[in-house]
């Protein structure tokens, strides 16, 4: 990280970049798992893929594939906003300890969410993990709105 960017960030940027980028890598892993489940269950979304892997009858839905797709979609609904909110929040000179708690809750919440989704853990583990990660995101959003409104 070059000095100027770090100097702007009030020291919490590295922690944000670590948590956020690890979550992006986690999303890539979900995509790889989806592909593996498609191959193992022989359930492809496109006729051209099915043809390559045995025949047109394998262009079909599958419950486990759909589960992977839902997990990935939920990541897009929650982790992508965090990439934006966390980056902006890191430049608002937050208290470092408070900021680290924010990032850690998002990181842990989303990791547990994926494990609970793909592992079919009993309700409401997945929903609680979702909420755990959304609360710090909502907190960061409200702080950004507040700071932005003050400087209009």
């Amino acid at each position: 990280m070059p000095a100027p960017a770090l100097a702007l960030s009030g020291q919490v940027l590295p922690a944000f970049l670590l948590c956020s980028t690890l979550l992006v890598i986690k999303m890539y892993v979900v995509a790889v798992i989806t592909g593996q489940v498609r191959l193992r269950k022989k359930a492809f979304a496109n006729p051209e893929d099915a043809l390559r892997h045995g025949g047109p009858q394998f262009c079909r839905d599958d419950q486990d594939v759909d589960r992977c797709l839902r997990a990935h979609r939920n990541d897009m609904e929650t982790i992508y906003p965090f990439l934006f909110l966390g980056l902006v929040y890191s430049f608002l000179q937050p208290n470092p300890f408070v900021a680290h708690v924010h990032f850690l809750l998002v990181f842990l919440g989303r990791m547990v969410h994926t494990v609970a989704y793909l592992g079919k853990l009993r309700a409401p583990i997945r929903s609680l993990a979702y909420t755990l990660a959304q609360l710090p995101c909502a907190s960061m959003a409200l702080q950004i709105v507040w700071e932005a409104a003050r400087h209009l």
Copy 2:
């Protein structure tokens, strides 16, 4: 907002951060509404959720849930690019009045889009709101491409 970040932004960054973060919060609200509709219509995507709320027969599709999911997906297709384009555009030293008009059109277009989608308003209100928000996004994208190409 710390002074250095503001100094870089040419004064339009606060307006962008306000509009964009309010749209992220609006997306969070759509997610909450989706959950409420799932509970009220007893239509869950996962067997483990259905079991917790009455039985496996409630793992089923529902037209109103699908509508919420489509509204949320359309937000992901349009608001997420705005988070990126608007942030970069804010650092291109745009005319403040022109920039504010861009941000306001995106904000209003996407708010009306969600109301029209979830409220099942008659066509083409939703499509017009979609187009209203996409035009300033396309404008910002073209200005970024132009500036980036000049500095290659």
Copy 3:
């Protein structure tokens, strides 16, 4: 691009902004194509749209529309993380040649992916294009994790 932002970026920011914004515009084109296919095949997702275009029987699924939606969703799974990773990576003072190769591979991979998807090209062209674009994204993610961990 104002001087301060360029000075921070180590000269690779313009190339990143060009590749990333062109990919966002490409996603906008996929959205327009989806709308055109809906109109041509008379296959709408919402009853209110179907009513405006001939009658409630046109609220229905269509294979070609679904294909457009899958292409767009795959873009959201891959191009959105690139918007974040590439921006952060551009501020890590990467070797300009190496950085340009990263951005170009993502750009070419995602362009070919869309052509292969919408053009129904034979497998595994689309999958290879997907992998071609994901490898530099994974490389940027690992470099960000490394730099962030060093500065914790």
